[in-house]
């Protein structure tokens, strides 16, 4: 085990942890917007999957990073809009629609991937320019920290900025106030001139874009390929992380890093050859999620109108 407990091991573990937390962080940040507005967007997983598949297809055929990112975000948004129309305009049950759309996304993405590439034993790679690490000059030379934080993919730097912006928007702007009011007490918001349905739509669009981007990170940057069910329930873990992070972007950032590091750890333990069945190691992040949920169950302060439909009184 001496090979494990070295500084190098920790630096690479943490750097990998940061990398692996990105898809979850992006999706969870999006989910904060949706849930703060009162929509329990359980379709996060489906939106990530769509983003992962569509961006991969676009990336593979155009070889253009920017176009791929856009495609990933737009497909996430379209998926989110499907849910928004059903639940906000037509007042369907949010949880039921969300689950159904997840199944739809799983089938849809697997199908179109096969249509594009057929059944193969070696999935094609996208190899997009910019999918590797971009070291930030000077900062990346800081011992330990530089390797962990400043030698990452550009999307990581963007994500961190996004989290900070999200935090500011939610807590310091009139938009954020209206967003939170829509998820706490929509009727009161309406009497103060807030268009609750519009706020919920906007929040779903933001959420879809970020979840799609999360999926894109997974297929184009983390794995450099698409496989069936590439998200492997990361959307659900993001849902749990939102609760653990108390609907607060900065806390969610911390929770995502914790989760990503656990995931990286289990991969490394497998590689080192710990004498445990690999299936048990694979369970580690999910066990952590359950533990997190149990710890936070008592003190959870969810938006009061979360998952509740809102209908303006008949006029």
């Amino acid at each position: 085990m001496s090979a494990v407990l070295t500084p190098v091991f920790f630096v690479t573990l943490l750097a990998a942890g940061v990398r692996m937390s990105m898809p979850i962080l992006l999706a969870a940040t999006g989910e904060i917007f949706a849930e703060r507005a009162g929509v329990l967007n359980i379709n996060l997983e489906g939106q990530m999957l769509m983003g992962a598949m569509v961006s991969f297809l676009v990336g593979y055929f155009t070889h253009n990073m920017f176009l791929s990112l856009m495609a990933g975000m737009i497909s996430g948004v379209l998926m989110a809009l499907l849910m928004a129309v059903a639940c906000i305009t037509w007042h369907a049950q949010q949880v039921v629609v969300g689950i159904t759309l997840n199944m739809f996304a799983l089938g849809f993405t697997s199908f179109w991937y096969r249509v594009a590439f057929g059944v193969t034993t070696s999935p094609p790679k996208a190899d997009l320019p910019g999918s590797g690490e971009q070291a930030i000059p000077l900062l990346s030379k800081i011992p330990f920290l530089g390797e962990i934080l400043f030698n990452q993919n550009f999307l990581f730097y963007i994500s961190v900025v996004l989290v900070i912006v999200a935090n500011f928007v939610i807590f310091r702007t009139q938009f954020g106030l209206k967003l939170r009011a829509s998820g706490e007490y929509p009727k009161a918001a309406e009497t103060m001139g807030v268009n609750v349905q519009r706020m919920r739509y906007v929040s779903m669009i933001i959420c879809g874009a970020l979840a799609g981007l999360g999926g894109t990170f997974l297929s184009l940057i983390s794995l450099n390929r698409f496989v069936d069910n590439i998200t492997a329930s990361r959307g659900f873990i993001a849902l749990a992380i939102v609760i653990f992070g108390k609907w607060n972007p900065l806390l969610v950032l911390a929770a995502s890093l914790l989760f990503g590091t656990t995931d990286a750890l289990q991969l490394r333990l497998q590689a080192v050859g710990v004498e445990l069945p690999s299936q048990f190691l694979l369970m580690l992040p999910y066990v952590l999620t359950i533990l997190m949920m149990i710890i936070t169950a008592k003190r959870s302060e969810s938006p009061a109108a979360l998952a509740q439909d809102y209908q303006r009184e008949s006029i």
């Binding site: 310091r172 702007t173 009139q174 938009f175 106030l177 209206k178 939170r180 009011a181 706490e184 007490y185 009727k187 009161a188 918001a189 309406e190 009497t191 103060m192 001139g193 807030v194 302060e301 938006p303 009061a304 009184e313 008949s314 006029i315």
Partner: protein, 508 residues
Amino acid sequence: MSKHILRMDQITKVFGKMTANDHVDLTVRKGEILALLGENGAGKSTLMNILYGLYKPTSGQIYFNGEPVSINSPLKAIELGIGMVHQHFMLIPAFKVWENVVLGLGGRVILDEAAAKEKIRALASEYQLEVDPDARISNLPVGLQQQVEILKVLYRGSRLLILDEPTGVLTPSEKVKLFQTLRELTKDGFSVIFISHKLDEVMEISDRVTVLCRGKKIGTVDTKDMTKEKLARLMVGRDVVFTVEKTASKGSQDKVLEIQDLSVKGRRLASTIKHLNLTIHAGEILGVSGVDGNGQSELVEAITGLRPVESGKVLIDGKDMTNRSPAEIIKAKTALVPEDRKKVGSVKSYNIEKNLILRDLTNPAYCKHGILNYKALEKTADEIIQEYDIRLSERQSPVGALSGGNLQKVILAREIKSQPRLLVAMHPTRGLDVGAIEFIHKKLIEARDAGAAVLLVSAELEEILSLSDRVVVMSGGRISGELGEKDITMEKIGLLMGGEKLGGSANG
């Protein structure tokens, strides 16, 4: 400039088959308090929701400051300078005061917290409101929440305030404070529409009164030319007797309900009952007064078997009925007029007969060998309809179609017909018009005179004062004081409601 700030002209609003407002006119002068008076269902709220942009009128025109306006959303109403304090406060409990106040304001993208708080403090001190901008709404008492609502309206520079039944949730001292604020505001040129069905308040606070009845405007009168009786006649269309005729209780020593050291977990901390003792004798009405949510609901539920008792005892006619099932408690001749007549007191889709036997399924007169005797049921229903003057459009219509007053009469009739030893009545007249209130009061006294012990829970001080032989006041899940018949005054009850002890009181 016109001397009227608002003129609503021939407003009509039709919902399906029902006409909620039928060519209603309403004007408000600058700097006046106009009371909008009417029974429940008279169309007051509909009219105000039209004014606030929540409903669109079927026909009619609104003029604001002399200009014709079309108000199609609350935002538009706010922009014009119309502010509304809703009956159920429209405050977000998880937000701080200042966040609630600035919610929905246009103009700034980024919130200017410091400036908002500064402006709130300035307004609060101008109108002697005790609002701390940093307080969280969920931590504020109801009276202060209402002040935040008023601040919200003032902050937006509204000139016309609509207050929908603002006093229902207030303690007497909070009410005094509210009226002071309103007078202060009208002095500064604000206009107020004060919606109420309480005649005393209307007489006390308003300059003019507009009376609505069944969607139509009956008239607008100057308050100073009016008396309570005249107003009631306008509102109900007939004379109303306000003083309840009641002889002194016969003062039996027969204990019907005895509660010993009762503790019950409440919905909230303030309503958790802690070591409560209470006795009611046959032939007396015990009034339980207090601001809602101080344990009254929990007390009633514990007595009637609807909520588990943690410790202590409930004795009915000397028998221990603690934590027994409602069926057993009904058998012990306990009757309940519950708080929520629609959800708990009746089954909406059933007709009168079926509602009558809900609590009486084991009575052989109505049900033998599991088979219902509809003839007997119909006969009882007919008697009750006659005796209680219940107005139905169709004999077989479901009770959900009845007005609040008529539904309450059905429930009261069912409970009193069972000849209870103990009659528990919770807010029996809440939301009812004066005519129905008068009737229900008479019936409660009849039940008392027939020998029942009556536990009357009410937030209406008038009701407690005119019916009770003894009064206990609840505050924070305890009895903060007890008043014998000679001691019952509004002032004393008011003090006890705030949880204060009376100097030299027997129960101090």
